[in-house]
Symmetry: C2
Subunit: 344 residues, 2 copies
DNA sequence: GGCGAAATCCAAAGCGGTTTGGATGACCGG
DNA sequence: CCGGTCATCCAAACCGCTTTGGATTTCGCC
């Protein structure tokens, strides 16, 4: 109950050595069941819990995973990042690991990793939002700091552990759905294309078009931070063209909401006059469920990805010799209210 | 450069004692400038950084702040929480503190705090989302774990340190604005009212009405998690009444976006037929700025609150004897496109 | 009865820092 | 020239745990 007992005191109360008490509590076999019971009871009674710093020092393991987020990335990935964190956090808790998050200036990102390594702050890290010209993995390998990538690093797929959604395929399927509905003027509101995921999505879009002999219209393709106004302003501008798009493929629910707003403001109806498909990360505060979801979407739970990424990383740490492993998740294509046949 | 040097090795390379090296690096006065320089140079050269576990053990300070988030709260406060964290994280980084986040099952929240205390995982914690019948602060006092509340604990305002926005006043002012514009049927889409902030907002709303001799219509008041569909569905249902509201006061941008969607779907125009005021936490992925913001709002940066909360907490830790201090922030009332005179 | 194996338990050495309580030597005024 | 003060630096204790390398006892079995 009352806190503040340490191992020494506890062992004295029990007339046992620290060794035995430690072993009893940590489940080692060389202690009798009777003793183990006595120890557990007394520990419970005195409210003993091992000081984590001391344990970490003694074992040499930090029992913590680091997430470093440069401000810019952070701003960009905001809600998705949180959801991922929530998933990863669950896994960490279940395995007795702590999650430590460092918010750093963009130009101090490398420092942050170096510190984690040299000061032994964490046993591993997760790389968020890999870019097209990614470099963090090289640093981490040099530092011998285990890591898992959320997303993929172009050109380093086989030498790194990662978890990613099949972005290309998701957007290919979404595009095909729109094509099947008769849409030919399809706009793409993508995330920032210096990010790997956005580039893949674009590729999926373009390939689907190409397969039907269509060329993407550069005027109808944008990329930016996935905010609500981005969706609204872009859509508004496009819908006012002489030959407006009849469908939008959007990279995020938030921007899709913006698109829907623009559609409304133009006096058009979503799902009738204009179709929208969005990617849905299954963010908990932006539910897109119900009998018929508001938005037709490609859906992949980023929280789940977080859980899995954490598992991957903890495995790597427990088993350093293992080969890199990866997880490729497929998004579901879910039909909602925001799509319909292209207007005649 | 290469990492892996410890204090002992470093001191041997320098022909100095560990004491002196430690003191040199930590800025103690009893070491000559010449020596300090030599030490710094060698430390830099060998890439020495003190093992944080060892340092923590020796100093008895965890150099970390804990944030425990039960899943339910987490889901509820999602994006706001992240923004707060981002702000706090900046402050922590600047002061050499780590931020550790524990995602726990709702019924393990107390355990989490006890562990932080008994295992000395953090030097302090932040309480998120205080409820009307709050109890966490009692536990923390018992554990002698310094804490700061984001929000206020009813009845414990003077005995705890907190940072809060003036929720009551913000919603009073917002309501007055609507009343001045001639609206009398005003709907309130509040957050969950078992939370302190929501209760205060409701109070502000009701007091403003009462001051003009108006009684709130229970049919036009709701509270729930602040999701987009919540806003849309509630507004849709209300707008279909015989005597629909002409204005909405909404607790979050996300729900306000839902309201706007409903307005559109009913063939009405936001800012003309129906007015909307929302509270705007200044979330980075939901910008509501521009020359004329989309939504008229009461705005208060939750990221800023996070920074300040962290500062408060670090001060408390540095100066344990100090009295509890608090910060009361006022929201700005900003006129955007979503409000106009009540229709005749 | 004696002997090796198995079962228990323990003293002490780390882990890598910080900090206390001097030691050493230089410098200075009387 | 000498005691006293400063300025520097150091050896060793300590933080609280884990873990190595025995020591001791118990026990089965020939």
């Amino acid at each position: 109950m009352s806190n503040g007992v340490n191992l020494k005191e506890l062992s004295q109360r029990l007339n046992l050595s620290q060794t035995t008490v430690s072993r009893a509590l940590n489940g080692y076999p060389e202690v009798s069941e009777e003793t183990r019971r006595r120890v557990s009871e007394m520990a419970e009674k005195l409210g003993y819990a091992p000081n984590s710093q001391a344990r970490r020092l003694a074992t040499g393991r930090a029992m913590a995973i680091g997430h470093v987020i440069p401000r810019s990335i952070h701003e960009m990935m905001n809600p998705i990042f949180l959801e991922f964190i929530a998933g990863a956090g669950e896994t960490y808790s279940n395995h007795g690991y702590d999650m430590i998050i460092s918010v750093v200036d963009d130009d101090h990102e490398e420092d942050a990793y170096r510190q984690i390594s040299s000061r032994k702050k964490a046993d591993g890290v997760i790389i968020h939002g890999p870019a097209n010209d990614e470099h963090r993995h090289k640093l981490l390998k040099e530092l011998k700091l285990p890591f898992v990538v959320h997303g993929r690093i172009p050109g380093a797929e086989s030498e790194t552990s990662w978890i990613d959604m099949n972005n290309r395929r998701a957007f290919e399927r979404a595009t095909n759905l729109l094509l099947d509905l008769g849409h030919t003027r399809i706009a793409l509101l993508n995330g920032l294309e210096h990010m790997d995921f956005a580039r893949r999505r674009r590729k999926g879009f373009e390939e689907a078009l190409a397969a039907r002999g269509l060329a993407p219209d550069p005027e109808l393709m944008r990329c930016a931070d996935m905010t609500e106004p981005y969706g609204c302003d872009s859509a508004m501008e496009m819908l006012r063209r002489d030959t407006p798009p009849t469908a939008f493929l959007v990279s995020s629910m938030i921007s899709a909401i913006g698109v829907a707003r623009a559609v409304g403001q133009c006096g058009l109806r979503t799902g009738k006059d204009v179709s929208i498909i969005t990617h849905d990360d299954a963010l908990s505060f932006l539910p897109n469920s119900g009998e018929v979801p508001i938005f037709t979407c490609t859906r992949s739970s980023v929280r789940y990805a977080g859980q899995k990424a954490a598992e991957l990383l903890l495995n790597m740490i427990a088993n350093p010799a293992a080969e890199p492993t990866s997880l490729h998740l497929d998004a579901e294509l879910i039909i909602g209210q925001s799509t319909g046949p292209a207007p005649a």
